[in-house]
Amino acid sequence: MTAGAAAPPPDLPVALPGDEDGPVFEEAWQAEAVALTVGLVGAGVFTWADWTAALSAAIAAAQAAGDPDLGDTYYEHWVTALEALCGRTGVAVDAEVDRHADAWRAAYLRTPHGRPVVLDPHDVEVGTRGSFRPPDAHG
């Protein structure tokens, strides 16, 4: 597995929304979702061909479910595809993501306004409600 020392960002073979003046992410999570995807390709977890297939499938499924697909829901499709590929490759399965999402929610709720929100590893290891048994607990 590779970590921090990845190559420069590759040429993303898929488009990202922007405005008439150039690159823009409307919200930070959109940029983070893209960066995670680039990082996962860089780490060799999946290929851009895998990604294109997953994103196309997510878009097609959303259209079939009634999404007019005018561009404003693009990053929703992106996250759907990202979660699907992370689950399929095993790097982040639903249960893990759920657990971390709960931990983040708890972190926001306990952090005063204006303070950096930090995830406590304890939240993730034991769960926020004391009911979680980690599959791979150690230390």
Partner: protein, 218 residues
């Protein structure tokens, strides 16, 4: 959703804590921390990539390639023969060797337009983030069926005797349009030419226009 009275069971406006992000943002945060905890994609990597896409990469990079092709015939030849290699030589970073960059040249006889009908493949490394319309379903389908109609909506006239070619990108090939150099720009240097080249021209939905004001007298 759908309750006829908006009963907020999280009555917490008066509590001093941070707002929990909306569900999608929270999912992305969770994915990020799972992958960081497993040392698959570090936080530093995510930060670096975000910074690059937000600040470093944009249409000015592609415009530099186009301007050089206009003034350097040997570079133009190389760019049309092997776009990936020529762009890399020009200093475009991060080009994926597994994805071919194909540069298609507009001429007096041919006008090229780029689309990705399947999703939204795009030469991000040269153009940055594309506009919303590029990845919208209407553009993706209509530019194939009625390219002249779509071009007209961009205010772009293409004479009837000019052939319009639509190039459908995919995960192995991305396209960049080499627009026609506008008339009256013989005096301009490479940087001044690059300033004329907009993203839409490199996607093929607009022409490159001559400078609005004549260049200052030498």
């Amino acid at each position: 959703m759908g309750h006829d009275h908006d009963h907020d069971h999280d009555q917490d406006q008066d509590q001093d804590h941070s707002d929990v992000p909306p569900p999608l943002a929270l999912r992305v945060k969770a994915l990020q921390s799972v992958l960081a905890a497993k040392s698959i994609v570090s936080e530093a990597t995510v930060d670096r990539i975000v910074d690059a896409y937000e600040h470093r990469i944009g249409p000015h990079l592609g415009a530099g390639v186009i301007a050089r092709a206009w003034i350097d015939p040997a570079f133009r030849e190389r760019l049309l023969a092997d776009g990936t290699e020529a762009a890399r030589d020009h200093g475009i970073r991060g080009l994926d060797p597994g994805v071919r960059l194909v540069v298609v040249e507009n001429t007096a006889d041919v006008h090229n337009v780029v689309v990705c009908t399947l999703c939204s493949c795009y030469p991000l490394q040269l153009l940055g983030m594309p506009p919303v319309w590029y990845k919208s379903a209407p553009y993706r389908s209509r530019v194939v069926q009625d390219p002249r109609g779509v071009l007209a909506e961009f205010g772009t006239d293409v004479d009837d005797d000019v052939e319009v070619r639509v190039w459908d990108s995919n995960s192995e090939v991305r396209y960049l349009v080499l627009p026609e150099r506008p008339a009256g720009t013989d005096e301009l240097d490479e940087a001044a030419l690059a300033a004329l080249v907009g993203r839409n021209a490199m996607v093929g939905v607009e022409h490159v226009l001559p400078p609005a004001d004549p260049p200052p007298a030498p």
